[in-house]
């Protein structure tokens, strides 16, 4: 295992941080309050080249092939520089669960039509897997795709779909062979405005409020054959293969957020004076800072390990589960510690400390809850 980053990778990370600090942190308190999506910032990211990290050069990407190590470090930088945790979250959701599968499994027609558009920021894509009755047990989905002449008829409902309310295209998973259970799961690219396809309004939520999340419904929605992603029944392979990339990069941005949070907290406890000295001089405060640092660095090691394994084309089932569990739970704990270190100031929304805690809670739920990660880990240990 080699954790040495190249000079180019480190320089690019710094460029991302600089870009994010200068261009993505405008009016965040208001955006969070209004649950408003920053379409302008999304476009700025595209112009900078963020979405290009998840596409090969021939279809609008930065490099000949997608470079997971480069992307991981870049997304970490984005999380550090961008104080809107929702933006990196939604970017990662599109990049690794829509762009990546289309890049891996799509036809040239699909890549030309959809991948290029997403890499350039002209299109926004959502990944529609979860259903009201199929969350952790996602392959028990009830949305069906009936084969008809020239395509499929989709019927069903998806919920908790990141970017669902505003997406131009949705990568939807439905069962095309219900009698075959999980082997029937198939991916389809559905365009906004397709007859029988409805996208709900944004739903209010605790954190990540700048990300539109909602429901998608399919009522006799016809999707042509040319929009089927991969073979009929390939949905299971598609979702499992992209999950580790998704975890890796979404969590990279969270790691960046944790590092920013730690730096800001250290800065605050050094300058805040009580009883004639910096509050950081009090052991009860400095111990909290030490715990935050420990969580950050243990999470970082796990993240880089998963990124390295994926860069080698290796499986990272255990490592990705450990990473997801450790990093997401750590972000919640450290966010609470950051508030405690800031005292009453940290409780006020205007100071942009408490928002991290609200945003962090989602991390222990999406992309496999902490309970599910523990199940995976213990299962892999033979329990």
């Amino acid at each position: 295992m080699n954790f040495n980053w190249t000079k180019e990778q480190l320089e690019y990370k710094l460029k991302v941080i600089e870009f994010a600090k200068n261009h993505l942190n405008n009016d965040l308190v208001q955006k969070d309050l209004n649950c408003s999506f920053a379409a302008d910032n999304w476009q700025k990211c595209a112009e900078f080249g963020i979405q290009q990290l998840a596409a090969p050069k021939s279809f609008g990407g930065q490099f000949d092939e997608i470079d997971i190590l480069h992307a991981t470090l870049a997304m970490e930088g984005l999380g550090y520089g961008c104080k809107d945790n929702g933006l990196p979250f939604s970017l990662n959701a599109q990049m690794w669960t829509v762009q990546m599968p289309i890049s891996q499994f799509g036809t040239d027609f699909q890549k030309e039509k959809y991948l290029k558009g997403m890499a350039s920021g002209k299109l926004i894509g959502s990944h529609a897997l979860t259903e009201p009755n199929a969350g952790s047990d996602v392959f028990s989905m009830q949305t069906v795709a009936e084969k008809v002449d020239g395509g499929y008829i989709l019927n069903g409902k998806k919920h908790l779909i990141t970017l669902g309310p505003i997406a131009d295209i949705s990568l939807v998973f439905a069962n095309a062979r219900p009698k075959m259970g999980k082997w029937g799961i198939t991916g389809f690219i559905v365009e906004k405005g397709t007859k029988g396809f409805n996208q709900s309004e944004n739903m209010a939520k605790m954190g990540l409020r700048t990300v539109p999340i909602g429901e998608l419904t399919f009522d006799n929605c016809f999707v042509p054959d040319e929009n089927r992603l991969g073979a009929e029944g390939a949905g299971w392979g598609i979702t499992t293969s992209t999950l580790e990339y998704d975890r890796c990069c979404i969590l990279a941005s969270q790691l960046g957020s944790m590092e920013r949070q730690l730096d800001e907290t250290v800065k605050f406890v050094k300058q805040r004076k009580q009883f004639g000295k910096s509050i950081g001089d009090f052991q009860s405060v400095s111990n909290r800072i030490a715990n935050m640092k420990l969580r950050l660095e243990t999470s970082r090691l796990l993240l880089y390990q998963v990124a390295w394994l994926k860069s080698q084309g290796k499986s990272a089932m255990m490592e990705a589960a450990l990473l997801k569990l450790q990093l997401s739970e750590s972000f919640v704990e450290s966010s609470l510690d950051a508030i405690r270190c800031n005292g009453g100031r940290g409780y006020l929304t205007e100071n942009e400390v408490e928002r991290d805690l609200r945003d962090a809670v989602g991390g222990v739920l999406y992309a496999g809850t902490s309970d599910i990660q523990r199940n995976i880990i213990s299962n892999l240990l033979g329990l």
Partner: protein
Amino acid sequence: MTEIILEYISKILSNEQLEDELQAEDDLLGGGILDSLGMMKLILFIEEKFNVKVPPEDMTIENFMTVDHITTYLNKK
């Protein structure tokens, strides 16, 4: 090859104690013998044991529904 895979599934991967002895033609995922994680573990085992790479696009019913399907797939590689 068939025996090695059958033995691995029977001893290591099975969700529960199987009522009957596992057969090469049993539906692994659809029949509830393996869950999704179990199938991923099996694929990892196959890659390491037989020194092959199973790309995601090959993870279909045509290749992995039963142990018979798996051996046919591996023999083609």
